[in-house]
């Protein structure tokens, strides 16, 4: 059930931990599904990827070899899965810290990120969870919790606002061409019914303005009260579901969902 009553800091962070657990567990499970691609005969072999670190010190290279070559990396993914599942159940900063490190290690192995923005939002959420629990273990609870929830909420609002402003600057988004082109990019395997629908210029323009309008208005969820804020959050979920169905970017749905309790918490107080 979606938490609609006034959330305390502890409740908001617990919901964040639950949803982050789901998101990270799915990410680890997906990587384990395709782990053959990370073996020496696969498409992401460590013997090739490690060339990027040829200039690093022997100690750094030894650490990376010990962490990111095939077998240790698969073990790391199992650890990530176990850590994610433990996240809502075990207090303390150790588990979120380890899960955060494992997500960062995945990014380092895959030359920055494995799945772009979804990795970034996962890191934002895990970093805040880790800091909130670290603060609690040093006796600073409420202030740190509020700051950590604020960091997630601010990054979430920025993620939509920056994306919306960046699109608005381009003619191709304002006249709908960008969306028509996006659904033709073959690697996204966009369903034929959607490509057909968005090949109509008027519909593509309407859909493009809907995307830009939604992204620009999302930060209002922080300022608006009650139902209006929750409506924007519901629209956000629909937006990510549509992206998952249309472009196959399922990870974005789960990664962004994990950030929503923080925004809900702050929207109830601003």
């Amino acid at each position: 059930m979606w938490p609609c009553a006034l959330l305390s800091e502890t409740e908001a962070l617990l919901w964040t931990a639950r949803l982050a657990a789901l998101s990270v567990a799915l990410q680890a499970a997906e990587l384990l599904q395709v782990r053959a691609a990370f073996a020496e005969q696969g498409t992401f072999p460590w013997r090739v990827l490690r060339r990027d670190f040829a200039g690093a010190s022997p100690v750094v290279r030894a650490v990376l070899d010990g962490l990111l070559s095939y077998r240790p990396f698969v073990a790391l993914l199992w650890l990530q899965l176990a850590g994610a599942l433990a996240l809502p159940w075990l207090d303390g900063a150790l588990v979120p810290g380890l899960v955060l490190l494992s997500v960062l290690a995945v990014g380092v192995r895959f030359r920055g990120t494995y799945n772009g923005g979804s990795d970034s939002m996962t890191i934002v959420v895990l970093l805040a969870l880790w800091l909130a629990r670290l603060g609690a273990s040093f006796g600073s609870t409420r202030g740190t919790q509020r700051a950590c929830l604020g960091y997630i909420a601010a990054q979430l609002a920025l993620s939509y606002l920056v994306a919306g402003v960046a699109k608005l600057r381009h003619d191709s988004w304002r006249d709908g061409r960008a969306l028509m082109q996006l659904v033709r990019v073959r690697q996204y395997s966009v369903p034929a019914w959607l490509t057909d629908a968005l090949s109509r210029p008027a519909l593509a323009r309407l859909a493009a303005w809907s995307v830009v309008g939604f992204e620009l208005s999302f930060p209002l969820a922080l300022a608006l009260a009650g139902t209006a804020s929750q409506l924007l959050l519901a629209l956000g979920l629909g937006f990510h579901l549509a992206i998952a169905v249309g472009l196959g970017l399922n990870r974005f749905f789960w990664a962004w969902l994990a950030a929503y309790p923080a925004l809900l918490y702050w929207s109830q107080r601003l």
């Binding site: 990027d52 670190f53 939002m121 994306a163 960046a166 699109k167 988004w173 073959r186 395997s189």
Partner: protein
Amino acid sequence: MRVLATRLARALLPSWRFFDEVEPAPKLFFRLMLSAREPAPWQPISFARPRSLRALVLNGAGNLALAEHALLEQLLSDVAEPELRTASAVEQLTSYQLVLGLARAGARARAEAAAGHAHLQFKLTLLDLSTASGAEEEDVLVSSLHEL
């Protein structure tokens, strides 16, 4: 350490500028060769994966294909660096070696076509999606011959 720091910075400082511009999409082709004089036709490698409703939850193959396709974009970005002046310097790039691996995997997946061939070549084309026909291609990188 600079590479490690750059990667961590990329992960920790997101730009959030999703799909602000839809760039021409790179496409990977390979061809098999008995010798330099006997090339087989170019064959495309597809990164599209069929998906079901289950992929809303677990989409391992689809997300791997996206990560593999991102290597093509990384290679194009790397070869645009002005200090890369020779073909051998390009071939030393990690992204080049990874794309070569993709081409080899694509060729080996078509075992019948690959049988009897000793070498392969790959090329990247840019697919301009802004044209009315929706598909104008331009070769942007053609590799030298490599062992299959």
